[in-house]
Amino acid sequence: MPFRSIRWYGVPCPCLLLVAALSLCPVPAVAQDTIPAGVRVGLTYDPSTRPGVFVTAVAGEHGDSVRAILARDLDFGDRLTVISAEAGPPPSGRFNYELYLKLGASAIVQASVTRQGSLHVAVHDVAAKRVLNVADFAFNGSAPLSAAWRMAVHRASDEVERWITSTRGIAASRIAFVRDQRLWFVDSDGANLTPVGVGGIALSPAWHPTGRYIAYASMADDGTHINVRDLGTGQTRRIPSLGGTNITPAFSPDGSTLLFSAGDDGTDLYAVAPFGGEAPRRVTFGRGTPTSSPTFSPDGRKIAYISGRLGHPEVYITDADGTNAELLTESPSGDRPYRASPDWSPDGRSVAFTSQEGPNLQVMVISMRDRKIRQLTGDARNEDPSWAPDGRHVVFTSTRSGAKQLWVLDTESGRTRQLTRGAGVARMAAWSPRMEQP
């Protein structure tokens, strides 16, 4: 309904101008969808500016949904400013780049759903007045608007973000979490909320680096055990238990090792082959202190974890074989410290964790370069951060809207958004790796 856009005495808003301009130039866009070989593409991207991007109307079946998902993904990526002007009809001719420049767009995303069942996407560099990149993203026969179909659109969004900013987006990822002591999944944009049918109380989900398996702890009357679930087949394998308490699993970055916490006196970290074949190998020797929540550095060489050896929980790091343990989070004087829930960032540069700050827990991040600690949250109780694959966003548990829900924070800009809503308590979030083409 373009007439709604007319504001004053027939002076049209920019989007109407745009629509008019686009419809005047009926030259096929396909001719531009090539990049000369050997030419490096990519806009000059400055992380502090968030270049503007305009997502045009999308031709083909469910084009409106595709456009909405693309625009939202690029917005949630926090690296681009999505220009919210009406789309008008899908563009069909030569682009009037000056017009987009006036809208503040550095890039144009032009997409269409093809008859062959894929998503064709072209990104235009507005300043250079040419097509920056083109690709097709297969829906692989998935039903329109289904979870797999949405994931295909998310993959397109992530590539678009990479073309424009040279950093791939994180839309094609999911978050595993615990709600009312059951496992759930939700897509990175909050859609496709799905319970996972595992019996008993489920805790502490952890992703395999392929995204194909998930490890979690399950609690019954006789204790807590570690399980590895194949998300494709639904088959679940229980890791042989060491005593009654087996908690907080974590996969190594190469996927060959599963680390978890177990023990009869205190708890210690044990390494085991996630798919069988090896006896558990003890990694830490806490001498009867509580130890939990391991997280690997992305090169797999180091582990961060919680230990209560000082009489209160602090984050320690150690070599992956358990040697050279050292306190990571230095205790300040004053209040009794309480540091927990470490998660090593995928770029290796920092560890996010939870710290008692005054009356509440807060999400913090420590730089591995200079050990400087930065507080990321301050409103209500915030805890248990998990890094997105971009090493920039974290998902965490917060009480800022009442009961515990999951929120996503951009650690660069401080922008937050609520990921889960509704009844029940959501917690123990684990952000998946990028979901590659199935």
């Binding site: 009654g244 308490t245 248990d384």
Partner: protein, 204 residues
């Protein structure tokens, strides 16, 4: 006047006595003019009477015994229930601590005679936490609490293999509220008999 009332009352009594006698439809037994021949002694009916008397006595005795037994059983059941409740009494912990508090030792000491009376008994100690700290660290802390309870009992002579330990962290609160009182009640070690105490024997 008093004398008149008394004589009237006497007269009334006499009338009522006569009336009562007259009303009884009993055959009037006349004074026997001839010597009475004693009826022959019937041994069978005497035996029967004696047996009936004895049976009644026995039934009464049995009822009394049953009653006593039932009372004793009820007393025993109450004592067993009390002892089990005593045994199930949780021990409580301070925030983020796993050491046994001085004021909780008596609770643990009270369980020792029950271990002694039931030598085959095996138990599970479950460590719990409040919901203030990290959910995951609380699982580890609950394990420490259960382990501390076990350590205490072992040092008091209970065999190690009679005690399993498990942690439920903050996942099974005793009081699902967010205040100091609830937190204090949730930071606990719980005791569950899992084998070897059926029948449950009371300590002497």
């Amino acid at each position: 006047m008093h004398a008149r009332i008394r004589s009237l009352a006497l007269a009334a009594l006499a009338v009522s006595a006569m009336t009562t006698t007259a009303c009884k439809k009993k055959p009037v037994v006349a004074p026997a003019p001839t010597p009475v021949v004693a009826p022959p002694f019937n041994q069978d009916s005497a035996n029967a009477a004696e047996a009936a008397r004895r049976a009644a006595a026995e039934t009464a005795a049995k009822a009394a015994a049953d009653r006593a037994a039932a009372e004793a059983a009820a007393r025993l059941a109450a004592a067993v229930a009390a002892a089990k409740a005593e045994f199930a009494m949780p021990v409580y912990f301070d925030y983020d601590m796993s050491n046994i508090r001085d004021d909780q030792r008596a609770t643990l000491e009270a369980k020792l005679p029950i271990f002694a009376a039931n030598p085959d008994m095996r138990i599970r100690v479950a460590g719990h936490t409040d919901n203030r700290g990290s959910d995951e660290y609380n699982l580890a802390l609950g394990q420490r609490r259960a382990a501390e309870v076990k350590r205490y009992l072992v040092t008091r002579g209970i065999a190690e293999d009679r005690i399993d330990v498990v942690s439920f962290g903050e996942e099974r609160p005793a009081v699902a509220q967010d205040n100091e009182d609830a937190w204090g009640k949730n930071r606990r070690g719980e005791f569950e008999i899992i084998a070897g105490a059926n029948p449950f024997k009371l300590p002497r």
